[in-house]
Structures are given as C-alpha cells and as structure tokens.
C-alpha cells in the first residue's frame, strides 16, 4: 500500500501550521520528517493517522496506517504480554511472541508494565506496531528514552519491516542509520491568511 499526500494543509487548534505538502511513500521505503519544534510534525502525523481532519488536500492509503504516538498507550496494571495480546486481538492478528522477541521483551513478558523502565515501556509501545499487521508505520519520536542498543534494535526492526514490503514515516531528530529519504518541513510552514495562506477555523471565527 502506498501512502499519497497531495497538497495537504493541516491545522493545530484551528490555526494552519503546514500547507502545500505533497509526497509519496512507496512500499519498502522510509521517510524521515525533520523540522524545528512546533513546525507541525505531530499535527501532520495525527492527521495522517485519521485523528484530525485535514484543512485541505488529499490523503490516500491512510487505512493501512499504524500510528505510534508520543505516549505509548501502555496499561500499567497489565503485563507486557497482556498489553500486546490486547492490541493483537484489536487488529485481528495473533503474533505476540514474534513481537516480544523482536523488541527483546521476552524476559519481561510476565512483568506488569507499571514495573518497566521508561525505555522498556517505549519498546513495548513500539512492539505494538508489529502486532498491528499494518503496512505503513507512522511514528512520532519513536526513539525517545531508548538507549543506543535499543535504538539499533528498533532500526533493525524497521529495516526488516521495509524489506517485507512495508513502509515507515518517522518524525525524529536523531539518525537511525536507516536508508531513508528526508523531508524537511520548514519550507511548508503555513503563511498567515493575510499573505494568502489557508484560513483555519480559528481565523474564521474572527472574520
């Protein structure tokens, strides 16, 4: 499945932040989003994940997206294996054991998530992507609180996913060692409406 974004504009809290954004993400490819804080990386990823509507433009292929947010969505009172088993059931897959092995969580499988370190929790959050069975991984700062070994482990998991025909869209500030295309978002910063930019809901309210 190919992710296509055509002339997309996204808004945060009713104010346009990015506009005129077009790109294609082909199977087997990774695309790294870069840009200064506040440029709208998270807003763009949430829009692609379907959590908020686009201000303008078209997105196709969004139904194959698996989204990993800043927060891991890990339930503290469930064990590592139970957390993953729930998401596997939600997505109708069954391969929890493979995901545990891939993210080096096997030894922690029966431990409650409340007793995990921040990095271990992050690994569990990323292992969730493996059990979704979705082709396009959309990840927001996936390497936060991971140590160097875990970053390498994660990069290997992404590489294997790409080899199997999947694709990945990653907002990150560090170099993962992947052969990835880089998309710098600064040129797409939304112009104010007075300069011909998109009018967001916030601006409309004041017209």
């Amino acid at each position: 499945m190919e992710l296509q974004v055509h002339d997309l504009a996204v808004a945060r809290a009713g104010v346009a932040v990015l506009e005129g954004l077009s790109f294609r993400l082909l199977p087997g490819r990774a695309l790294v989003l870069r840009g200064p804080n506040g440029i709208g990386k998270t807003t763009l990823l949430r829009t692609l994940a379907g959590l908020q509507p686009a201000l303008a433009g078209r997105v196709s292929g969004a139904e194959a997206v698996a989204y990993a947010a800043h927060a891991d969505g890990v339930k503290a009172v469930l064990t590592v294996a139970e957390n993953l088993a729930f998401w596997a059931a939600a997505y109708g897959t069954a391969d929890v054991a493979a995901a545990l092995d891939a993210m080096n969580l096997r030894a922690l499988a029966d431990r409650r998530a409340a007793n995990l370190s921040a990095g271990q929790k992050r690994r569990l959050g990323l292992a969730r992507l493996l059990v979704t069975g979705r082709e396009i991984w959309v990840m927001d700062e996936p390497t936060v609180s991971l140590d160097a070994d875990s970053v390498a482990l994660f990069a290997a998991v992404v590489r294997r996913h790409l080899q199997q025909g999947g694709s990945a869209l990653i907002a990150t500030h560090i170099d993962l060692g992947l052969e990835a295309d880089v998309l710098e978002l600064s040129p797409y910063r939304a112009k104010p409406p007075a300069a011909g930019g998109h009018v967001g809901a916030f601006d409309e309210a004041f017209e």
Binding site: R46, A49, G50, L51, Q52, P53, V65, A66, Y67, A69, H70, A71, D72, G73, V74, K75, A76, V77, L78, E82, A85, F86, W87, A89, A90, Y91, G92, R128
Partner: protein, 218 residues
C-alpha cells in the same frame, strides 16, 4: 471488541482499578441515611425506594470519569481511535464494562441494603427489577458525559453537572416502579418508560459519545 471488554474488566478488577468503590459507597449511603432521619421504621420504609435509587445513581456517578480519562492520559484513547474497531463500538464496550463492574453489583446487593432501610418485603422484587432495567442507562449516559469531558483537566465535576440532570428520568421512573409495586398498583407504565429510556440510551448515545471523543481528540 470482546478483547476490549476483557481488558477493561481486567483493568477494573486489578489493583487500583476502582472495582468495589461504588459498591462501598452504596453501602455507606444506605447506612448513613437511617442515622440522619432517625430509626423510625415507618419513615424508613416510606423513603427506602427513593434513597436506594439515589444511592445507586450516585455510586454509579463516582466511577464515570474513569471510563475514558485513564485511557486518554496514557495515550490509549488515541490508539483505540486509530484501531480497526469502530469508536462507537469502543464506547459501547466500555459502557458495558462499566455496567458489569458497577451497575450489576449494585443490583445484586440492593436487597441486602433494602433490609437496612426496612423496605417492605413486597418491594424487593420490584427494586431488583427496576435497578436491572435502569442501571444500564446510567452507565451509557455516563459514558456520554465522560466522552464530552475527556481531555479536560479535572473534568469530573463538570461531568457530574452534565450527567446528573440526564439521570433524572431514570431516577423518577425507577423509584416510581418500586413505590407502585409496594402500594400494589400497576407498575407497567413506569417500568415500560424506564426500560424505554434504557433502550433509547443504549441505541443512540454510543454514536453521540463517539462523535464527542473525535472532537476532543483533535
């Protein structure tokens, strides 16, 4: 969907899940009221249906903000909203899980608490029937209120203000069923209206709640 129900039940029953809090609150209300109004059996018997229904309603309210707030805080709600499960189904399952851990236990202990309030024997059956028919509406309406206020810091009080007025019809007809049953009158109309409110809430409110969550997640 079944997995979500199992997960929510497991979360509620495990430590810190709040299971039993509503039940303990219900018990305390039933114990405190006779202390306040005095031990006159005749007075207690007269107010028992209303007190038991108000107690059930308040203990239901107590645990409502957990339905979505916990999932919102740890990011699970975003992930649930992007999962293949329809959000309407997520809401329905969460409301069902809330009823199973809050409403159903209330229905089951109500006869014991009715004893504390000196409810006449003829009312026990109607109390259980009216609670069984009415409490699902409390959970579904509550899920709607929780969806409206999800993401608000300390939205619990606002949610109570939104939800309590919506609980009134259920309270009125629920207590009416027991009172009419006690007086030997026909309960059909009140029971039908009570069940009708529940059926309507279960059918419609998951859609409204899902729409509210979508807006709040933006």
């Amino acid at each position: 969907m079944i997995a979500l129900l199992a997960r929510d039940l497991r979360l509620a029953v495990r430590a810190g899940g709040g299971f039993g809090l509503g039940l303990a609150f219900f018990l305390l209300v039933a114990v405190i009221v006779p202390l306040g109004v005095g031990p006159e059996p005749a007075i207690l018997a007269k107010i028992a249906p209303g007190i038991l229904w108000v107690g059930a309603l308040l203990s239901c309210l107590l645990s409502l903000d957990r339905i979505f707030a916990l999932d919102f805080e740890d990011g699970s709600l975003d992930l649930l909203a992007t999962s293949p499960m329809p959000l309407e189904g997520v809401v329905a399952m969460k409301a069902l899980a809330h009823w199973l851990v809050t409403g159903l236990p209330l229905v089951m202990v109500a006869p014991v608490l009715a004893l504390l309030l000196n409810l006449p024997l003829a009312g026990y059956g109607w109390l259980v029937i009216s609670l069984a028919a009415g409490t699902p509406a409390l959970s579904v309406i509550g899920a709607f209120g929780a969806a409206l206020t999800v993401g608000l810091k300390r939205g619990g009080l606002l949610m109570s203000l939104l939800v309590l007025p919506l609980y009134m019809p259920t309270l009125i007809f629920g207590a009416e069923v027991v009172k009419r049953g006690l007086a030997g009158m026909d309960v059909g109309t009140a029971l039908a209206l009570l069940a009708g409110i529940t059926a309507g809430a279960v059918a419609l409110l998951p859609f409204a709640a899902a729409a509210a969550i979508r807006v709040n997640l933006r």
